[in-house]
């Protein structure tokens, strides 16, 4: 296969996976929406019938897996076409990031009753891929010399995986906050009946963070090692480095708050959201409007 065919095929696969993600989104939406039954006359209780829609949910999950596989091959082909790892610019960060995010979701889906997360996950992946193919797309090309390093592979791949898991933890923390708000006032809304209890959501987002915090630490260190080789200093407070530091400190604070000060529930969820948004900010802001040595995005 020539590199040109690989690049074209990769594009097609990314588009195909977007279509399947859209179907997955629909299926999950159907599962959530159609589970609601009208209230029984003369009673203010509503009963939910999930059997009717469980099938839609299962189809949604199957679509997610299929879309994941298509995207996976698309990302690999992108790498083959450029003869390097597929994360040299914003377009490639985005499609690989979306892949990691979906992988993290499928991973927890296997362990917990979390199919409902498919709704926010599929819509976020769609938005990410949509921006990638429209605004961020650049043709496949070799890397500039500064990016040619084994540490690029290590640093960026671990950063993308960490990011995927951090964002998933954020989704769960956000779900926690929303549901908690409902439960305080009117009780758990119908669409959320099947979701895990607040305690489970709370520990789940914590566990995801605890799981990838060492990986994120490693990613920052790998970045420092690479910077030492490429720019003559391992840490220079470049905007991107500064925000990586901020994210790291924010998650360290989050772990501290949980483990030593005993924060749980709402406070912890807010802190988790804050830490996650520093990661997102770094990704979006610094790549697009930032200055400094890390702006390879070509925008």
């Amino acid at each position: 296969m020539t590199s040109r065919t690989a690049a074209l095929l990769s594009n097609d696969l990314v588009y195909a996976s977007m279509a399947i993600f859209a179907l997955a989104f629909l299926a999950h939406a159907i599962e959530v929406a159609w589970s609601v039954k009208a209230p029984v006359k003369g009673s203010n209780k509503t009963k939910l019938d999930f059997n009717r829609t469980a099938r839609a949910g299962r189809i949604g999950s199957a679509m997610m897996i299929l879309a994941f596989l298509l995207l996976f091959v698309g990302v690999v082909l992108r790498g083959i076409s450029a003869d390097r790892v597929p994360w040299g610019n914003m377009y490639e960060f985005s499609i690989t990031g979306a892949l990691a995010f979906t992988a993290a979701y499928l991973f927890v889906l296997k362990k917990y009753e979390l199919r409902w997360l498919g709704l926010p996950v599929s819509i976020s992946v769609l938005l990410t891929l949509g921006t990638a193919v429209t605004i961020l797309y650049v043709p496949s090309a070799p890397l500039v010399p500064a990016l040619k390093s084994i540490w690029l592979t290590i640093h960026v791949s671990t950063a993308i995986i960490s990011g995927g898991v951090f964002l998933l933890a954020n989704c769960i923390a956000a779900a926690y906050l929303i549901i908690e708000k409902y439960e305080k006032s009117t009780g758990r809304p119908r669409w959320a009946i099947k979701l895990p209890t607040l305690e489970v959501l709370d520990t789940l987002s914590y566990r995801l963070v605890a799981l990838v915090f060492p990986l994120w630490t490693f990613s920052v260190i790998a970045g420092a090692i690479w910077a030492e080789a490429a720019w003559g200093r391992y840490w220079g407070w470049d905007p991107k480095e500064t925000w990586a530091f901020i994210t790291w400190v924010a998650y360290a604070a989050y772990l501290h708050a949980r483990v030593t000060v005993g924060w749980r529930g709402r406070k912890a969820a807010w802190l988790c959201l804050f830490a996650g948004s520093t990661f997102l900010f770094n990704y979006v802001y610094i790549n697009i409007w930032g200055t400094g040595k890390h702006t390879y995005s070509g925008l």
Binding site: A229, G236, V249
Partner: protein
């Protein structure tokens, strides 16, 4: 006396506050927030030009921001205060815990609590033989305290060890950063291919030493640039690879060996690294005066302006009277359009052109005001000619002539000595190791007590899951009715 006691108890109170968990959390969050302005405002150490531009664009605001040290956040007193407090708190917290932990390693688990039914995972089972329980727990690597009618067992001390290792490694990293900035140096030197760089202070175009590092500690090496190859992608003009071949002598005058420096591949002399940072072209010219005597012969470093290495520079000839200066640009692959005039359309030298304006008068070299080597102050000068030369072409400007004879590549060598970086790396590795140990080890206790029935209970630190299954397995493992 009483005030003495008061101030002492106040100090003790203050110390307890500083080393408390809540303070650690607040300081951590503060550290994160305090770093934010460092990314929003241009920083002097990274981007002095942008800082100057900020002062020009915001003449009212900038001095105020400067007073708050917002252009040098990471060396500002308030940022330093936060991280120093954090690390004092860290040491104050971790040292006592390390001592406790070291004692605990050799101690037995704590006594079995009196009322087990208040603990988590409490169950009562049919009476079992404590010897059997002890044997079972030993096989599972619990440490055990056996009393007459109870067993207290604990597992997972490694968690605390990992946690302490992690925190202590952070201190090591901080020390390493300090060592690097106090005992290190960093400098730049531009040399043309064919020239030799000798590592002495005068060879540098710019150099900065840490507080405790001085010129005398520079490592005695010399580097001769023998060949520089830049490869570009013909489709996009983007650089693909830079490779600098050098001959190295270490110490001075020793036998020379051949080495290659690339962008991600510095050359090392102990803790000193030599990096290939930038490159460009130095056009060479011969300037003759009216009598035909050569007054200038050689390369002049030009500064690249874009990806295709359109370069600008100035050739100064002070040895003519009146003095002559050429405000000039070099195009490796010449091209023209209406808007930009002459520019380069490819970074390699395919069709070189030297464009210049000739100025006659006082170059201002003796005024004592430092001058850029790339520019000429033409305020005291008169323009007498304008020309674009192809290779080996000569132009007569009345006062003399100039011949464009060729070009050389120049490279910018960055030389950095950071004696702390090895410790920083060690600290980073230990920190990750400690983190992994502490986050993935589960610390838990199990108690068994004989009464009318056998009571079993457990406690998992931080409510880590999995203890329930473990206790169930224990009960199953020691019950007689298997």
């Amino acid at each position: 006396m009483s005030t003495y006691l008061d101030s002492r108890s106040f100090l003790r109170w203050g110390w307890r506050q500083l080393t408390s968990m809540r303070t650690a959390l607040i300081l951590l969050l503060l550290l994160g927030v305090a770093a934010i302005p460092g990314s929003l405002f241009p920083q002097r150490t990274q981007n002095p030009m942008q800082v100057r531009q900020y002062f020009i664009d915001n003449p009212e605001l900038a001095p105020w921001l400067d007073r708050l040290k917002l252009f040098e956040v990471f060396s500002s007193p308030w940022f330093s205060a936060i991280y120093l407090l954090l690390f004092i708190s860290l040491i104050g917290c971790v040292l006592p815990r390390s001592i406790d932990h070291a004692k605990n390693i050799f101690a037995k688990p704590p006594l079995t609590p009196k009322y087990l039914d208040r603990m988590e995972h409490f169950t009562e089972i049919k009476k079992v033989d404590l010897d059997l329980v002890e044997a079972y727990l030993r096989k599972k690597h619990y440490r055990i305290r056996r009393d007459s009618n109870s067993i207290s067992a604990e597992k997972g001390y490694l968690r605390e060890s990992g946690n302490l290792l992690f925190h202590l490694s952070l201190v090591l990293i901080l020390i390493a950063v300090g060592v690097g900035s106090l005992f290190g140096m960093r400098g730049d030197s531009i040399i043309n291919v064919g020239e030799r760089f000798v590592n002495t202070p005068t060879s540098y175009d710019s150099v900065g030493f840490g507080k405790y590092q001085s010129e005398s500690t520079l490592k005695p090496f010399s580097i001769t640039a023998t060949k520089f190859v830049a490869t570009y992608d013909p489709a996009t003009n983007a650089p693909i690879d830079y490779e600098l071949t050098v001959k190295v002598a270490y110490p001075f005058g020793g036998t020379e060996r051949s080495e290659v420096i690339k962008v991600n591949q510095p050359l090392s002399f102990g803790s000193t690294n030599v990096y290939l940072q930038a490159n460009g072209y130095s056009p060479t010219v011969i300037v003759r005066d009216k009598s035909g005597k050569v007054v200038f012969d050689g390369p002049t470093t030009f500064l690249p302006q874009d990806g295709n290495l359109t370069s600008i520079g100035s050739i100064k000839v002070p040895d003519m009277s009146p003095q002559i200066g050429f405000v000039s640009s070099f195009l490796p692959t010449a091209d023209r359009d209406e808007i930009r005039g002459g520019f380069s359309s490819y970074p390699e030298v395919l069709d070189p052109r030297l464009l210049f304006a000739v100025w006659k008068g006082d170059l201002g070299l003796n005024t004592g005001v430092p001058q850029s080597v790339y520019r000429i102050d033409t305020s005291e000068m008169e323009r007498i000619g304008l020309k674009a030369l192809v290779l080996n072409e000569t132009y007569d400007f009345g006062e003399g002539s100039i011949t464009f004879t060729g070009w050389k590549s120049w490279v910018n060598l960055q030389i950095v000595d950071d004696p702390g970086k090895g410790f920083a790396l060690l600290g980073a590795i230990l920190a990750i190791l400690g983190l992994l140990i502490s986050l993935f080890t589960r610390q838990r206790r199990v108690w068994i007590k004989q009464g009318r029935k056998t009571q079993v209970a457990g406690l998992a630190k931080n409510g880590i899951p999995g203890l329930e299954e473990e206790i169930a397995a224990l009960i199953k493992g020691v019950s007689n009715d298997k």
